[in-house]
Each structure stands twice: as structure tokens, then as C-alpha cells.
Symmetry: C2
Subunit: 254 residues, 2 copies
């Protein structure tokens, strides 16, 4: 029909809102080539062509910034899409792990009363990892257990949190970095390992042996300790050495 369209028309035919088109104009994703009387946006046919490319790419979950890069900076769409695929896989894996955690608690949570108390919640989460206690028994002597307990007293409610929740999370994060190709001196790795070190010296209240025992428990049976299924935790056997290297670097630099 015509060769010029107003925002309203474009919005109506595309199903977007006028505000969205304004926004896309602001950030340069789709700026109509000229303005008419009174500063009104006038979209041409080539604008519409670009619009439908943007819509298509957006439907693949790309950020507006990525789309702009694709269209204007001439980024290779293959790279962008494979990156997006990686990103999606990571996001799905993260959400799935989260889902399993929540599901475990919901299923075990018949006894969950109407109120939230620290102990009850943590007990439920602990229930999800029944194997850890036994593994710990094999590796940690009674003396060390006593030391751990005394550490527990000083840190109060924190102990349960760090043992049950933060520690496995740290292991997982470092493993993820390792698989992604990070070296032991990567700043993120160093940060996580430093935190692990802090937690372990803190747990055994200064004694080195108890911490070493807990570490050896993790080294020998990461699956049970972390509560992850065997398949997920199996490659973690490479992780122990990696963490040791990182720790050596960390101490060397202090």
C-alpha cells in the first residue's frame, strides 16, 4: 500500500507496543530512517525488513545488545548462536539442579510445619544427603569429630549452613570453572579456594588434621559428600588435585 508507516501501525501489525518501538529506537536497534512533521517516526519498508529480523533473533532468546551486534557490527551469527546454545545449556543445568534440590525438600517435607525455623529447614536439606555422614565416619576419627563439634559450638548456626550448603556449592563452582578450562591461578578459582580454606580452618578451630580428614573424605567420595548423583560427581576425582594446586598457589602468594 503505502511506503511509510507510523509507530502505531507498525505496533499494530507487529504485535509490539508503541513503547517497545520507542525503546528500540532509543537504543538504536530499530531507528526509523526519518522523521516526519512534528518529529513523528516514519518507518520504511527496509525498516520493516529489519524489524522482522530483530523479532526472529529475539525469538531465539538473544539479547537486544547481541541482536544489535549481529546486525550492525556484523558479528558472525553462527558464533552468536552457538554461544547462545552454550548459555542456554548452562542455564538449564542450573535450573535443573535447583529444581532437584527444591523437589527433594518438598517431597521430604511432609513434616514441615507452618513455621520456618533454621533447624527444621536445614534438617530437611540434610535429609537429601544421607550418605555424607557415613563417609565422614570412615574418614574422620572420634577426636577429629570432637574438634569439629567444638568448632561448631563457636560458629553456632553457621556450621550447618556451610557444611550442608556452601561447601558443596563451592566444590561445584570450582569444578565448573575447571571444566571450562580455567587454570588454578584463575582469580575466580582462587577466590573460591580461599573461601574453602577459610571454612576448613574455621571448622576445625585451628587444628589442621580434622580439616585434612574432611578434605580426604571429599577426595575419596565426592558423590556421597555432595549429594550429587554418581554420574555428575564422578569426574570430580580430577578436582581434588586441581584444588590442591590452587591452594598451593594461594599460600605461596600470601
Amino acid at each position: 500500500m503505502r511506503d511509510r508507516w507510523t509507530v502505531g501501525e507498525v505496533a499494530a501489525t507487529s504485535g509490539l507496543t508503541v513503547r517497545t518501538l520507542h525503546h528500540w529506537d532509543e537504543i538504536g536497534i530499530l531507528s526509523p530512517q526519518n522523521r516526519g512533521a512534528g518529529g513523528r517516526r516514519e518507518y520504511t519498508e527496509s525498516d520493516l525488513g529489519r524489524l522482522y529480523v530483530v523479532l526472529t533473533l529475539r525469538q531465539l532468546g538473544l539479547s537486544l545488545e547481541s541482536i544489535r551486534a549481529c546486525l550492525d557490527a556484523g558479528l558472525d551469527p553462527r558464533r552468536v548462536l552457538t554461544d547462545q546454545l552454550d548459555h542456554l545449556d548452562h542455564a538449564i543445568a542450573d535450573l535443573s539442579r535447583l529444581r532437584e534440590r527444591v523437589a527433594t525438600i518438598v517431597e521430604a517435607g511432609g513434616e514441615l510445619t507452618g513455621k520456618v525455623d533454621p533447624a527444621g529447614m536445614l534438617t530437611l536439606m540434610r535429609g537429601a544427603r544421607a550418605g555424607a555422614g557415613e563417609v565422614l565416619d570412615r574418614h574422620v576419627s572420634k577426636d577429629h569429630r570432637a574438634q569439629l563439634a567444638s568448632g561448631a559450638a563457636t560458629v553456632g548456626p553457621a556450621l550447618a549452613y556451610v557444611l550442608e550448603i556452601e561447601w558443596p556449592e563451592l566444590y561445584r563452582r570450582v569444578e565448573e570453572l575447571r571444566v571450562a578450562g580455567a587454570r588454578p591461578d584463575d582469580p575466580q578459582v582462587q577466590k573460591s579456594v580461599a573461601r574453602m580454606d577459610q571454612l576448613s580452618t574455621w571448622l576445625n578451630a585451628g587444628g589442621e588434621e580434622a580439616g585434612a580428614a574432611v578434605r580426604s573424605a571429599w577426595r575419596d567420595d565426592p558423590a556421597s559428600m555432595s549429594g550429587e548423583p554418581e554420574q555428575v560427581a564422578a569426574p570430580w576425582r580430577y578436582l581434588a588435585q586441581f584444588v590442591d594446586e590452587a591452594r598451593a598457589l594461594l599460600r605461596g602468594e600470601c
Copy 2:
């Protein structure tokens, strides 16, 4: 040891940043009960107890607002967690569908050149749904095809987008609402169906029959038309009637 802690100490032991603790204080998720000299935050043991509950719930992916509601408004944690589970399932399903779309294009995209052009992109996406053309052939006569094509000429590049991308998306969204228990007069349903109506009258450029034919193609073989696997699209046979009801309501109200 002591019974009061500063922000810095709490941050160090919890692994959070000071800024995070400030933020949590601002929004009332964890406000230390009193301030010391110079307005300094003083965390007590009960604050720490609350802190570790917050950390635990946060680790389940709850928003700070939900956590606050759990702790202060006494929301039933079972409800919150089952809601969270639903939410996670939806999010995972969304991301998985997205992943499949992207993966299909990446796999088929060996020919994808260094540049992004509308046609090439859309061709690839169309490749993911090879079955649709044949189904359309069975339902749409040559005359209707000609009508559709003339409609295509007026709308230009929009046609490919709406046929290949927006239309299946609309079907999926309405189906999701239907399964979630929405009635045909639900505002969101009405909005989507209105859009579908607009698209179909627009596609056949005023003629009713062609649009009806496309609709009947969808009714008879939603799986092929949408590109979804048979299992996903199978229950959509209930959807056609649902959409018809919604359309009737929509027209009645105009």
C-alpha cells in the same frame, strides 16, 4: 566468643559482601537489631540465625521478597516451595524449547554465511518445520493459496515471520493458559485470540475462507503445523474448540 558482630565480620564469615548486607538491611530482610557508636550495625546471635535461614532459602532460588514474606508474614513454606517448584518447571520447559529451536538452526546452519539477512534466517527456521507445507497443501486449495500469496505481497517480509514464528507461539501460549485452567474469557486468552484473528484476516486479505482453511489445517494436524513433536502437540486437539469459544466471545463483545 563475643555476642556482637560488625558487618565486616559477618561478611567475612558468611562469604557475602558488606554491600549485600547493607542491601539486606535496607529492604528489611536482615536488619541488625541495634546500632553501636557512630551508627555502626551490630549483629547479634539471633541475627546470625536469621541470616543462615535467609541463605538457605536463597539457595533454593527464592526471591528476597519471598524470603521476607516467609520469615515475617509467616507464609506457609510448603506453599512457597511448591510454587517455586512450579515456577522452576515452567522456566525449565521454556528454556528447553528455546534450546531446541536454537539447536535446530545451529545444526542446519552449515550454509549460514557470515551475514545476517532476513530471508536466510527465516529459511533456516522454516527448515525446522518441513511438515507444515504438506499439511497446508491438503487443506488449502489453490485459490486460497493465491489469496494468501496476495496477502503476503501486501505485508511483505512480515508474512514469513507471522506464519513461521508468531502463529505457533500464539497457539502455544493459549494452550498453556488453557492447561493452567484459564477460561475462554480470560483477558490474556482474549488478547492472544484477538491477535490470531487479526493475523488470519490480514493473511487472507479479507477473504474468510482461506483463513478458515488455515485454521482447519491447524485443527487437524497441530503437530506438523507447529513443528512441535507429536507428544507435545497431541493434547492440542482440545485447543481448537477452546480457541473457537474464545473467538465467539470476542466477536460477541465487539
